[in-house]
Symmetry: C2
């Protein structure tokens, strides 16, 4: 109920604030005002205050916010205070890059398993993780993994999606847009690199070409 009134956009901005707070904290700022954080991140100060106000008042009038305390508060709101176990499916170039992506750990994520359907890859290690056979994905249920990361090609996305749901995954970060979710009670966040790149030329003003 209460959550329905909180804009998704506000939730989306919280991780950004978290990043700014970390930097400013490392620079030795014990307290910071919304103005200072806003300037640092290149956003508006009233936006920060408004976003935070959806979750409660964390600041002190006249002083600002305690850097460390606010970081803890935001991490708690985003449920990042506990470690989240994740599984990755599709150990191609992108999947490998994600497995090695630094910074997940700091946010409280721990990729504990990786799957692929290529017999040549199964059994190999990437970092600490051994690549398992994707047909054993069902067995995941016992391992209490909440988050799935999909880095398979488009034509395998729907099947992977269905399998992850069946395995009891609660949230999915997908790099493939090629699936339909149905009425599953699963939160899916999609990163579509090609689509993001595809809208870039629209904003580019070309002076050379005057007529097409």
């Amino acid at each position: 109920m209460k959550r329905k009134k909180i804009p998704d956009e506000a939730v989306q901005r919280l991780p950004i604030y978290l990043r700014g707070l970390l930097s400013l904290s490392q620079q030795g700022h014990k307290n910071i005002s919304s103005k200072r954080l806003a300037d640092f991140l290149g956003v508006n100060h009233w936006q920060i205050r408004k976003d935070l106000s959806y979750f409660g008042g964390f600041g002190t009038p006249g002083i600002g916010y305690n850097t460390e305390k606010l970081r803890r508060q935001i991490r708690k709101i985003l449920k990042l205070s506990v470690v989240h176990k994740a599984v990755l499916v599709g150990v191609g170039y992108l999947g490998s890059a994600v497995l090695k992506y630094p910074g997940f750990g700091m946010l409280g994520f721990n990729i504990v398993a990786a799957f692929d359907n290529d017999p040549k890859k199964i059994g190999r290690r990437v970092g600490n993780i051994m690549i398992e056979d994707v047909s054993n994905l069902q067995a995941l249920q016992q391992r209490e993994i909440e988050i799935g990361i999909i880095t398979v090609p488009c034509d395998a996305a729907q099947e992977t999606f269905n399998k992850l749901i069946a395995a009891g995954i609660k949230g999915i970060l997908s790099f493939s847009p090629c699936y339909k979710t149905g009425r599953q009670k699963v939160k899916v966040i999609t990163i579509d690199i090609a689509m993001d790149l595809a809208r870039l030329p629209y904003y580019i003003t070309t002076r050379r070409i005057t007529k097409v």
Copy 2:
């Protein structure tokens, strides 16, 4: 002027429609209605019509849209009808994955150069591309490259950004959020994988924990 009235959100959805049109076209549909495309993509049919109406009427009442024609129209709107040359900076795991990412070509993108600051990588080849020294980035100006892709670590992002601007790049796709744009006339689209993952737990309802 005219463009100011068109919501960014609508532009953002055009590539999605493009993808749907391609699939349906390959399935042999010569004409499709907004309803059919909407159902295929899992969006609303009036949203599609509204979005397209910002750019003009492309359909025929009673029949729908000519699949191939609409694809061409959208590609033209997004300026994807011409080939765009791109440069990638930062050939780490993620950078390599992006270099090998399939599907850019189909959208009219051609990554023609890659840069890194690691002497061990400079001179090596990834696919058709030889990795060049990032200190030669300035020389890019002669090559008429419009688009830059940033896949460097956070602490090198600002410098890379500045160099790309200096080299005359018009649009940037960045995988690092760690830079400030200033008042440059450059369109920047940021993909922050860690931040997207960071907001996933917020939406996950955990039944196990009843009290924190």
